[in-house]
Symmetry: C2
Subunit: 195 residues, 2 copies
DNA sequence: AATAACATACAGGCTGCATGTATGCAAGAG
DNA sequence: CTCTTGCATACATGCAGCCTGTATGTTATT
């Protein structure tokens, strides 16, 4: 009966860490980074500021953990809805659509595309993206070029360019833009590149 | 002799406003928005915080003025180096190069592309861009489509997409990326779109 | 004399750290 | 094998410094 109250240290840590990240995710998706104070975060997580600064170096480090988790969630949603057995060109199209779907979750665009570069810096934000979402795009493009569906060109900037185009699409759609028009534009983009 | 000390109110205002914007531009290009305090800004401008809050509603309003001025400067540099009498396609290419040149000024990428969306919000940042740099791009694309150099497609998202591609190029080049490779990629982008 | 353009003083909030406390854990004594 | 004892981990609380925005005071302009 008292076993409930007796938890291992590892359990305690993981629980509060998860609570802090969950609270941070909810709040960072709702408001801008600087409009959220650590008191608000810990209140929502049901812990104190002491716990926060025990697990994370500072507020920025918590945000980095949240952004990484969110990027991983996006990548997971994309991979989950990928057909696997299509041509490289079609796989890219399908991945793009899945990306727009995933980024339609409220607040995600600001968290990952607006706040992350500002709070963590362009380099760190890009590293997070490269570790999750952009990685599959990078591989897909490499495959497409090797398969001859696309002329050879530098892959790093190509990946960054297409990624930026989709980011902008997600941002504009979240701001009320027409998804249909964006899909048309992105279709032209791929059609032009895939010769 | 004492005429030097007697200035009109309009002069006083314009002088201190300009000093504040200049100091803000210098500092916002050097460090991140939240790493700069208003005491540092007014010290550099040679005034007090009272003057700042007399001319601007808050720190964010000063940043908005700085960002607007900086975007205007970028647009001016682009227009200054445009040949005027070329084909729509070549005009776009030349404008793109001029944009990359203009954005090579240290700190401009962070100020306009990283901090501005985070501090002012995506909508306001886009409005600033549309009022200056993106306007010429928008018009150029409209012209290219009307001239038949490009298939018809929604212009707003097309402008946003190409703008985002160039922004990403400027960002990556500022972070040490190869400008040559980026020009290759952007060339492929235009080539693909211009049918 | 009245108003605009500042300068100065003040209040509130927030971040990061430093100190204090309780709980889990690991090793040696018995 | 058990129990205690010393230590590390996981927090909680209080404090110091800074920063922002405002309110009030002062000087220069009209």
């Amino acid at each position: 009966m008292q076993e409930i109250r007796r938890r291992s240290n590892k359990d305690r840590s993981e629980t509060t860490r998860a609570a802090l990240i969950a609270a941070g995710r909810a709040l960072f998706a709702e408001k801008a980074y600087s409009d959220i104070g650590t008191p608000e975060i810990v209140a929502r997580a049901g812990v104190t500021r002491g716990a926060l600064y025990h697990h994370f170096a500072d507020k920025q480090a918590l945000f980095a953990a949240v952004a990484d988790a969110e990027a991983a969630a996006v990548a997971s949603e994309i991979e989950q809805s990928s057909p696997e057995d299509t041509s490289p060109a079609q796989a890219l199209l399908a991945g793009g659509k899945a990306y727009l779907d995933a980024m339609a979750v409220p607040g995600r665009t600001r968290l990952l595309l607006i706040d992350a570069p500002a709070v963590l810096g362009h380099a760190e934000a890009k590293a997070i993206d490269m570790r999750h979402g952009a990685r599959t795009l990078h591989d897909g493009l490499t495959l497409a070029i090797e398969a001859g569906a696309m002329p050879a060109m530098p892959i790093e900037p190509l990946t960054a360019m297409i990624s930026a185009a989709f980011d902008q699409a997600a941002l504009d759609i979240a701001a009320g833009g027409s998804r249909k028009e964006w899909e048309e534009i992105l279709g032209h983009l791929f059609a032009g590149l895939l010769r």
